[in-house]
Each structure stands twice: as structure tokens, then as C-alpha cells.
């Protein structure tokens, strides 16, 4: 659920040193309305954009080590919009002084032949999911509230099933490397959403097994 399939930050002249600062949390369905209400009050856009995206995660397996992962996304609500490829680096938790998880992030728009292209390159799709929800903005911050659904039939985005009774919330900022001050803003924004939700650095590696 990183971003809608639009180029958030075009790669120009090798500007790939953008980092994504990220805080994650979840809200149960019964708390969703009050959260949306509060976000409407806190954020710049009164009526959030809605999105429904299909994300395909491609692995390129080398001889050893972990595979190289690319995430391809397309909007289901705007079929004509370009696809979106995203590379995410290893997340760094950092110490207590940094309030957000940081990871390298490269976003590129792509044409609709992206899956074929990736397949030709040797990438293989590992998993896919559908995510839908709303996007709020406050300054440079992006707040995505959405549900994640597994696809019951591979490739069929109509036949989906929500994997949890909670919606995922991601609060993120794209910033050049080393600008840890943005994490302060994120922390204070996250504080305003308490005790409704708790946004924190979630290390996915800890949940792997």
C-alpha cells in the first residue's frame, strides 16, 4: 500500500537517494469512522482521495541471498493510469532518537506492458493483493488508510477477501537521505491520533516467522 500508481517522485538524473520515512498502524473496522473523522479534521484535504489498487510483487532470484524485489501497482479505479513500479530498500529501524522507520525508495511510472517486461527480465510474481482505501495529505505527509485483501482466484481482482478486520494505516514522507527531522513531524502527528490508533515503527522482519 505504498502509493497510488502515479509518479510520486520522478527519478530525474539519478535522484534515487530518496528515503521513505514510515510509521504504520492499524484500526479496527468499528474505529474506522472516528479515525477518518479525525483525519478529515487534521489534514489538508477535507475529502480524501479514494483508491483501489492491485499490487503484484515480483522476485528476481539470484544464485544466493535474498531475492531482488520490485512492486508493480496498477489502479483498478483508473485503468488507464500508468502502472507504478516501486523498489523498497531494507528498512532501518534506527534508535529512539529517530521516530520513524526509514527505507530507500524508488518510484517510477511504467507502461501497461510492465508485467511482460518484468517476466522477460526474469522476474517472477511472488504474490499479489488488492488494497483500497483513502489518502489524506498534510504538508509533505501522506496518510493512507486502507484495507488489504487477498485474491481468491489468481489474477482476478474482483474476487477478493479482506485478510483482516482492521485497516492498515501508513504515515509516510519522502525525503532526501539524512533528513531525520521530518520524523519529528510524523511523531507529533501520530500523537494526535492517539489513543484511537497507535502508529509506530513496525519491523516486518520480526513478523516473518
Amino acid at each position: 500500500m505504498e502509493a497510488p500508481p502515479v509518479t510520486v517522485m520522478p527519478v530525474t538524473g539519478g535522484t534515487i537517494n530518496m528515503m521513505e520515512y514510515l510509521l504504520q498502524g492499524s484500526v479496527l473496522d468499528q474505529g474506522l469512522e472516528s479515525l477518518l473523522h479525525r483525519l478529515r479534521g487534521l489534514c489538508d484535504n477535507l475529502e480524501p482521495e479514494t483508491f483501489k489498487d492491485h499490487e503484484l510483487v515480483y522476485f528476481l532470484k539470484g544464485q544466493q541471498g535474498s531475492p531482488f524485489i520490485l512492486r508493480a501497482r496498477r489502479s483498478l479505479s483508473h485503468p488507464n493510469a500508468p502502472w507504478h513500479v516501486r523498489y523498497l530498500g531494507q528498512p532501518e529501524l534506527g534508535d529512539k532518537s529517530r521516530h520513524a522507520l526509514v527505507r530507500n525508495c524508488v518510484d517510477v511510472s511504467a507502461s501497461h506492458s510492465l508485467p511482460e517486461f518484468l517476466n522477460e527480465m526474469g522476474f517472477r510474481m511472488d504474490h499479489e493483493f488488492v488494497t483500497s482505501g483513502r489518502i489524506f495529505r498534510k504538508g509533505a505527509m501522506k496518510i493512507v488508510v486502507g484495507s488489504v485483501s487477498r485474491m481468491l482466484v489468481p489474477g482476478n481482482t474482483e474476487n477478493v477477501e479482506q485478510i483482516s478486520l482492521s485497516s492498515l494505516i501508513e504515515l509516510s514522507i519522502l525525503a532526501p537521505a539524512g533528513q531525520d527531522t521530518v520524523s519529528e513531524d510524523m511523531r507529533s502527528f501520530a500523537e494526535q491520533l492517539r489513543p484511537l490508533i497507535h502508529l509506530d515503527k513496525v519491523d516486518p522482519a520480526k513478523q516473518r516467522h
Binding site: 500500500m1 492499524s26 511472488d126 504474490h127 484511537l196
Partner: protein, 248 residues
């Protein structure tokens, strides 16, 4: 003895007037604020004004209940002189509210009985009360008591309900940390998601299998390599063994 009482009365009347004038001033300034500064009047300052007034009224109450204060009720005021002419001193004393001490207004100001209309109503009520039998009256008293107590209960209960409501809201979790982990791991590496579609040959949940597979043959080669020297050795041995006869 009488002189002391008189002095006491005078002193208490003086302190009473000073306190009443304090209330008057506070009321005036409050009304003034309400009328002229209502646009920037903050609620806390309104509350402050109320607190001031209630404090001053309280102190008047205390003064009246004080043992040293003689009972004003037992004092009698008799109008000695009535005149239809304007009395400047009186007007000044009453802030222009009572300019004349005449026959017209004295009965109003020195009245100790209720207003005539009130008196009339009271008469009606007592007549009605006399008409009802004591049993009926008892029943009505009970009904009224019941109503009052249930009303009191209702007034007190909402506070409890409200309190319990807010604590319940605080206790009721609107998020579940386990769900956060589930969702994060789902989008991070597809945990719990249907993995793989037909064109993808790798079975689900084995991201590390690719390298293992490619490692497989190398391992085999190593074992073959390990065996080879031994066979060579035996070859050498057998060779040496076969050579021995020649040497012998």
C-alpha cells in the same frame, strides 16, 4: 444596654450596606461587560464573574446568620413624615431611584406582606388545601416525593452513565496490534496472501528455495569430488599393490 444594641445594629447595617454595594458594583460591571464586550468575552471570565457574585452573596448570608447581627426582622420602620415634594437627599441616597417619599410609594417600599396578587393566590391555595381530605393530601405528598426522588435519580445517573461511557470508550480498543503486524507482514512479504499464480513455477513460502536448488548440484559435485580422491587413492594403492610384485 440599649445603647450597645443600637451600636451593634448600626454597625451591622453599615456592613450590610457596604456588602450590598459590593454586589451592586459587581453586577453592574458584569452587565456592562455582557452588553459591551460580549464579542471578546471568554467563558472563563464569565465564570469568574459568577464566582465573584456568588461569593459576595454568600458573605451577605453569613453576615445575616451571624450571632452578633441583631435580627433585622424584629426591627420596625415607621414612616414619620410623608411629603409629595422631591427630596434631593433621598434621591442621592437611592441613586435617583426614589426621588420622593410620598403616599404613593411608601406602601410599596415598606411593605412587609406579600403583594396583593400573591396574597390572593395564597388564599386560593390554602382554600384548596383545606378542601382536600388528609388522606388524599397524604397520597399526593407521597406521589410528589416519589416523583422528586426519581427525578433526582435521573439527574444523578446521567453523570454516572456519562462517566462510565467515557471510561468504556477509553477501554474499548479501536486498534489491535496483532492486526497491525498481520497487515504489515502481508504487504511486506505476502504473508497470508495467496501466493503465486500459474505462470510462476516457484511453490509458495519458499523464497529461499531458488538459491538452495542451485546450490544442490554444487553440493553433489563436492561429494563426488570427495569420493574421487578416495578412489584415486585406492587406485594408487591398488597400483602400488600391483606394482609390488614387480618390485619384489
Amino acid at each position: 444596654m440599649q445603647q450597645r444594641e443600637e451600636k451593634q445594629l448600626e454597625a451591622s447595617v453599615e456592613s450590610l450596606t457596604s456588602r450590598v454595594s459590593l454586589v451592586q458594583n459587581a453586577l453592574q460591571s458584569f452587565i456592562n461587560k455582557l452588553e459591551n464586550e460580549y464579542e471578546r468575552l471568554a467563558w472563563p471570565s464569565v465564570l469568574d464573574n459568577f464566582a465573584l457574585l456568588s461569593g459576595q452573596l454568600n458573605s451577605i448570608n453569613k453576615l445575616l446568620k451571624n450571632e452578633k447581627t441583631p435580627s433585622f426582622r424584629s426591627q420596625v420602620i415607621i414612616p414619620l413624615l410623608l411629603s409629595p415634594d422631591r427630596d434631593e437627599d433621598l434621591a442621592k441616597l437611592t441613586e435617583m431611584r426614589v426621588p420622593v417619599f410620598s403616599h404613593e410609594i411608601v406602601p410599596d417600599y415598606l411593605r412587609t406582606k406579600p403583594d396583593p396578587e400573591v396574597e390572593e393566590q395564597e388564599k386560593q391555595l390554602s382554600a384548596e388545601a383545606a378542601r382536600i381530605g388528609p388522606e388524599v393530601a397524604q397520597k399526593q405528598i407521597q406521589a410528589l416525593n416519589k416523583m422528586c426522588s426519581s427525578l433526582l435519580e435521573k439527574l444523578n445517573n446521567p453523570r454516572e452513565e456519562r462517566d462510565s461511557d467515557s471510561t468504556a470508550r477509553q477501554n474499548k480498543q479501536s486498534f489491535n496490534p496483532a492486526d497491525t503486524n498481520l497487515l504489515v507482514s502481508a504487504i511486506a512479504f505476502g504473508k497470508g496472501l495467496s501466493k503465486c499464480r500459474p505462470p510462476c513455477p516457484v511453490p509458495p513460502g519458499h523464497s529461499g528455495q531458488g538459491p538452495m536448488m542451485s546450490g544442490g548440484p554444487t553440493l553433489q559435485q563436492v561429494t563426488i569430488g570427495g569420493k574421487m580422491p578416495s578412489s584415486i587413492k585406492t587406485n594408487i594403492k591398488s597400483a602400488s599393490a600391483s606394482m609390488h610384485p614387480y618390485n619384489r
